[in-house]
């Protein structure tokens, strides 16, 4: 086998190992797909679009970790896109209760700034992205109305 072939094989194996490690040590401990999506998007550099994770890079190298994070990001995005609006609302509730900020503040900033727009993987289907953004917007409105209704009750 030539040198190029060897490098390709090693890079592929490292990417697979990095992906398994990522799920075992990190993603499996994050509750809910929306939390995972936001976490994975946060590992992506805004300027270059490259994914980084210092701990994993020390073991598997930059390219393998980039591939592993990108794959996980695409998979989680696809899973959320294919879930029902009801599940998106539950995911939002879970995210808001787990993020450590006051639910009112999170709701307000998410409705105004729509930070979830940066959570879309590169090369995702524009329609799938539009559908998910639309479902998140609807989900936030549902939660806001429920909250307002609960406050109105004596």
């Amino acid at each position: 086998m030539n040198a190029v072939g060897n490098v390709g094989k090693i890079a592929g194996t490292s990417a697979e190992s990095a992906y398994e490690d990522l799920w075992r040590r990190t993603l499996s401990r994050i509750p809910g797909d929306l939390n995972r999506l936001i976490y994975l998007a946060s590992t992506r550099d805004y300027n270059s679009g490259r994914y980084h994770h210092a701990g994993l890079e020390a073991h598997f190298g930059f390219e393998a970790v980039h591939q592993a994070l990108e794959r996980a990001h695409r998979e989680v995005f696809s899973k959320i896109t294919h879930s029902s609006l009801k599940d998106v609302v539950s995911g939002l509730e879970q995210y808001i209760s787990n993020c450590g900020e006051s639910p009112e503040d999170v709701m307000r900033s998410w409705r105004r700034l729509q930070p979830y727009r940066v959570a879309i993987p590169i090369n995702s289907d524009p329609i799938a992205a539009h559908l998910l953004m639309s479902n998140l917007k609807l989900g936030l409105e549902v939660l806001e109305r429920r909250r307002a209704r609960a406050q109105d009750r004596p």
Partner: protein, 178 residues
């Protein structure tokens, strides 16, 4: 009298559909979430292995039922608005894909040594017919509840998806053989 009205209505719809496809809208060529990929851009969402039809998801009964159970007219109105925007984007993207298929087919036909005129005519008629249908659907979705034309949209979308997939497969086949 009513016959005349129907004929005028159909002519009106066809006129706007043709107008729509003669002048591709900005959203068809460059959508909010990025430009629709051409046949050359077979990476990411648009490669044949990863292609998933979203028709069932966009106009799903379970989402509509969920919103209705919230019993809030403002939420229902927002849901209809949001779904209308997604459906229009979806139909626009499909119309854009049909235009790409047509352009690529013309390109291939020009280079081909032996052309079957009957087969070519059938392909062009099919593409023209689907383009016209998408134009009419876009008008229907703009003025009516998006769930009303759901069955029609999903039916023709499935046909357009098949064409798109076959174009992608042809493209990847010719790329592999290079």
């Amino acid at each position: 009298m009513s016959m005349l009205f129907i004929v005028v209505l159909i002519a009106f719809l066809l006129f706007f559909a043709v107008l729509h496809f003669l002048e591709p809208s900005a959203s068809a060529t460059e959508s909010q979430f990025g430009a629709p990929q051409g046949l050359d851009d077979t990476a990411g969402c648009c490669n044949a292995e990863e292609f998933v039809s979203l028709g069932e998801l966009i106009l799903s009964d379970r989402d509509w039922e969920f919103m209705r159970r919230e019993q809030n007219p403002a939420l229902n109105e927002l849901f209809v608005q949001e779904r209308r925007a997604v459906v229009r984007h979806w139909l626009d993207q499909s119309a854009g894909r049909l235009r790409l298929i047509r352009a690529r087919h013309v390109q291939r036909s020009r280079l081909a040594k032996d052309i079957n005129l009957v087969a070519e005519a059938r392909v062009f008629l099919l593409l023209f017919y689907l383009s016209l249908v998408f134009g009419v659907l876009l008008i229907l979705v703009r003025f009516f509840h998006p769930y009303r034309s759901r069955a029609l949209a999903q039916h023709f979308q499935a046909k357009a998806d098949l064409l798109w997939l076959s174009a992608l497969n042809t493209e990847s086949g010719s790329t592999d053989s290079r």
